[in-house]
């Protein structure tokens, strides 16, 4: 067992250090993690140092009796939530998608040993979060309140509890969830929820940073009254906060009581999760659960087939087949949508928030509003269509050789895929861009201009994305984000910027028509330019992407 653990650790280290590139990547990651840890430490130290005079009564303001505790508990709640989500994902992959499980189960190990091994793996995967977020936060608190040196070993012990408790709870939750929902659906739902959490956190940090910037200690303390989620005494975050506060005040008995309580509950969760996983191994082995059924509703498909037969416009042929297949693959996999959603929210926050932060669209000159909205529409199109188009070739996965053995050219493949990407995206894209335009204050016929602009630029954008995706596709990638290499991704940025610049020239000409004597002609030229650029982007993307597909051997190793 020890040998196995050592081998696992060796393999993990080898993955980080196997090549010069990997070593550089690891060094960069370590540096970034170090910088993040320093930032967390600094932020917590600053926060607790700032509120300390208020808490100790040095400043005469109404103070909540347990303000410090509630504040710490709220921070721990966030930390526990992050660890729970990452722990759940890690537990799912360790118990369902791990390639070594069949080998381990067939080897002379007990289920308890395998569980212990997997638990160690999970805890190790959580360790970076604890070292980068939790420990610096606790140390920052200690430094902020001026705790004695004995606080810091106690903070280290508490960090270990942070490692133990969420991992056990995550395994427990995972074992329970997989009983109810088929694992492949859990994977999709997990990806969706994880992305939503990421979106919320991103929006919170982006919008919240300016919101909280003007706050003073009094506001922070008064906030503790409203943090009702951090007050329940049955919350593990509250116990850990109690233990931290006790450690900072040098109260050993309180520290042992609250820390011990957390440890006992963690152990209980661990035992329960072990029993559930053990039972799952013996009855419906969790690793084999990928064979869960998912029935398509026959009556509905029968109706669709019947309708299709009756349809006057019977759209058949390789292009439509490819487009239909692409649409099904995107629409039936939440992970595809979530990546696009994440980019979309990011782009909306980046483009809309600055305007809102300055007090809405009133500060935007009315003559510029349309052009700002066109820019926002372009950015949103890029965010929603870009990820889907960029990964469209690699989305084939290892079926790629199957597809390439059919009598279909690379250009046909790309056209079908672009159709399949653009079709399901257009309606939500239009809705979001129009909503964003309305939010920025755009009204009347100019909304139609924005909608037309979106319809014009989106196919070209998708084609350019698909072309860039053909440059370095990874057909073996499990993660949606890893389907294309970094160079292709950067290239897509460059190509998108060039496309945006070309479109901006057209928009400039259209706008220029308003203040020159050649009003109609210049506007017409501008419009023509926009149409040419939109069509050209589509043609260039399809032709170059098609050539790239034909140039490459279609073997997936």
């Amino acid at each position: 067992m020890r040998q196995l653990l050592l081998w696992k650790a060796r393999i993990a280290c080898w993955n980080y250090l196997r090549s010069p590139q990997a070593r550089v990547g690891t060094a960069v990651l370590v540096l970034m993690a170090g910088a993040l840890a320093v930032m967390v430490f600094g932020a917590c130290r600053f926060l607790f140092k700032a509120v300390q005079p208020v808490l100790t009564g040095a400043t005469p303001v109404p103070v909540a009796p347990e303000g410090e505790l509630v504040l710490l508990s709220a921070l721990y709640d966030i930390g526990l939530l992050i660890l729970l989500v990452s722990g759940f994902a890690a537990a799912f992959f360790a118990l369902h998608a791990s390639s070594d499980l069949p080998l381990l189960l067939a080897a002379p190990f007990t289920v308890r040993q395998i569980f212990a091994l997997k638990f160690c793996e999970l805890a190790a995967s959580q360790l970076p979060v604890v070292l980068v977020v939790v420990l610096p936060a606790a140390c920052g608190y200690g430094a902020g309140v001026g705790a004695r040196w004995s606080f810091y070993p106690a903070a280290l012990l508490l960090s270990l509890l942070f490692l133990f408790l969420p991992t056990a709870l995550a395994v427990l939750a995972e074992a329970l969830v997989v009983r109810v929902i088929p694992p492949y659906r859990v994977r999709e739902l997990g990806a969706a929820l994880g992305t939503l959490l990421g979106i919320v956190m991103y929006a919170f940090f982006y919008l919240g940073s300016s919101y909280f910037a003007s706050w003073g200690p009094q506001e922070v303390i008064s906030l503790t009254d409203r943090l009702s989620f951090a007050k329940p005494k049955v919350s593990p975050a509250h116990w850990l906060a109690q233990a931290t506060v006790a450690a900072s005040r040098g109260s050993l008995s309180d520290f042992l009581f609250w820390g011990g309580l957390t440890a006992v509950v963690s152990f209980f969760a661990l035992v329960l999760s072990f029993l559930l996983v053990q039972e799952a191994f013996y009855t419906h082995w969790v690793g084999a659960a990928e064979t869960h059924l998912r029935l398509r509703r026959r009556p509905l498909s029968a109706v669709l087939v019947a309708n299709r037969r009756k349809s006057l416009l019977s759209l058949r042929g390789p292009l439509w087949a490819l487009a239909g297949k692409e649409m099904r693959m995107i629409c039936r996999d939440l992970r595809e949508w979530m990546e696009a959603m994440y980019m979309l929210v990011m782009m909306v926050v980046v483009t809309i928030a600055p305007a809102l932060r300055r007090g809405g669209s009133t500060l935007l000159p009315p003559e510029l509003l349309l052009y700002v909205c066109l820019g926002v529409a372009g950015a949103i199109s890029w965010a929603l269509v870009g990820p889907l188009a960029l990964g469209c070739v690699a989305r084939e996965g290892r079926s790629w050789s199957f597809l390439r053995s059919t009598p279909i050219t690379g250009e046909q493949i790309l056209k079908g895929k672009i159709m399949g990407v653009v079709a399901p995206v257009l309606a939500p894209l239009l809705a979001v861009t129009l909503a964003a335009s309305l939010l920025l204050g755009l009204r009347d016929f100019r909304l139609i201009v924005v909608a037309s602009f979106v319809l014009l630029v989106t196919p070209g954008l998708a084609a350019l994305g698909a072309w860039c995706g053909t440059l370095s596709p990874d057909f073996n990638a499990q993660n949606v984000r890893q389907r294309v290499g970094g160079a292709a991704y950067l290239f897509f940025w460059v190509v998108s910027l060039l496309y945006a610049a070309s479109l901006a020239v057209g928009v400039f000409f259209v706008a220029a028509g308003a203040w020159t004597g050649w009003r109609v002609l210049v506007r017409a030229l501008g419009l023509l330019w926009l149409v040419i650029i939109g069509v050209l982007a589509f043609v260039v993307g399809v032709v170059l992407g098609g050539r790239e597909i034909e140039r490459r051997e279609a073997c997936v190793r």
Binding site: T291, H292, R296, R316, G324, G397, C555
Partner: protein, 256 residues
């Protein structure tokens, strides 16, 4: 028909296939045998246009697969060594999709898909996503997909892997029936018994070179032993007789 002329594939310094000359005529089932890593799958990938040969050329139905890939692929059915199919399509959708790629007309497509689903016993689960299929079911679906457009050349890479006895029997009978109709069948396999039973001719490849080719009787004639089986001959030609030493060592407990 299938024809290769000095077909060669090199990966860097390693030569996977070395000057392969082959001809498989219509109505023939050709068994392509060889030890692991001999170059079988590389040859098949070149025949299907997935890999570009370093030298030489391959013809499918008279069309050079690399000069006229669309014409060649239109008459070709291919079953890959691993049945990686679209997980998010149902079995029925997958077959319809493949039929559309080969431009099978709608009336024929609906009948053909239903026929193949019935033939391979996939009817009951035809409306489930492929991701819920077992390996054997995926293999059956891959074989069905290769047959959906009535190809005149069929190339199968280890087609019987993962199939249950009933499906294996159906596939063997189907291949014989197709060969009877004039379809050219090129099949790689590790199972000597199958090669002996259903193949008209057999080619043995080792380290990228075709070391023997002919009917089963012709090949048996090459053997040094009387009444040798195809398996004995295969081991004799590919140097696999060394296995006897290993077995003896295992018996005597000499191995560490």
């Amino acid at each position: 028909m299938i024809k290769t002329e000095r077909l060669t594939k090199r990966f860097g310094r390693f030569t996977a296939v070395d000057g392969l000359d082959l001809e498989v005529v219509p109505g023939e089932i050709f068994g392509f045998l060889g030890p692991n890593g001999a170059g079988k799958t590389t040859t098949i990938r070149m025949l299907t246009g997935l890999l570009r040969p370093t030298a030489g050329c391959a013809f499918i139905g008279g069309y050079d697969i690399h000069a006229e890939p669309l014409r060649a692929k239109a008459i070709l059915g291919y079953v890959p060594d691993e049945p990686f199919l679209y997980e998010k399509l149902t079995g029925r959708e997958f077959l319809s999709f493949m039929a559309d790629l080969y431009r099978v007309d709608e009336k024929r497509r609906i009948d053909r898909v239903a026929e193949l689903l019935h033939l391979f016993g996939l009817e009951e689960r035809a409306d489930e996503l492929v991701q819920s299929y077992s390996r054997g079911m995926r293999q059956k679906l891959a074989v069905a997909a290769a047959l959906v457009h009535d190809p005149s050349v069929l190339i199968l890479d280890e087609p019987l892997t993962g199939l249950d006895p009933r499906s294996a029997r159906i596939l063997k009978d189907t291949l014989r029936m197709l060969a009877g109709r004039g379809v050219t069948v090129f099949m790689s396999t590790h199972i000597m018994e199958i090669a002996e039973r259903i193949c008209n001719r057999v080619g043995i490849i080792d380290r990228g070179r075709l070391i023997a080719c002919g009917t089963i009787d012709e090949l048996k004639g090459l053997s040094q032993k009387d009444m040798a089986s195809l398996e004995d001959l295969f081991l004799q030609l590919t140097g696999g007789t060394a296995y006897a030493e290993v077995v003896r060592s295992l018996e005597e407990g000499d191995l560490p």
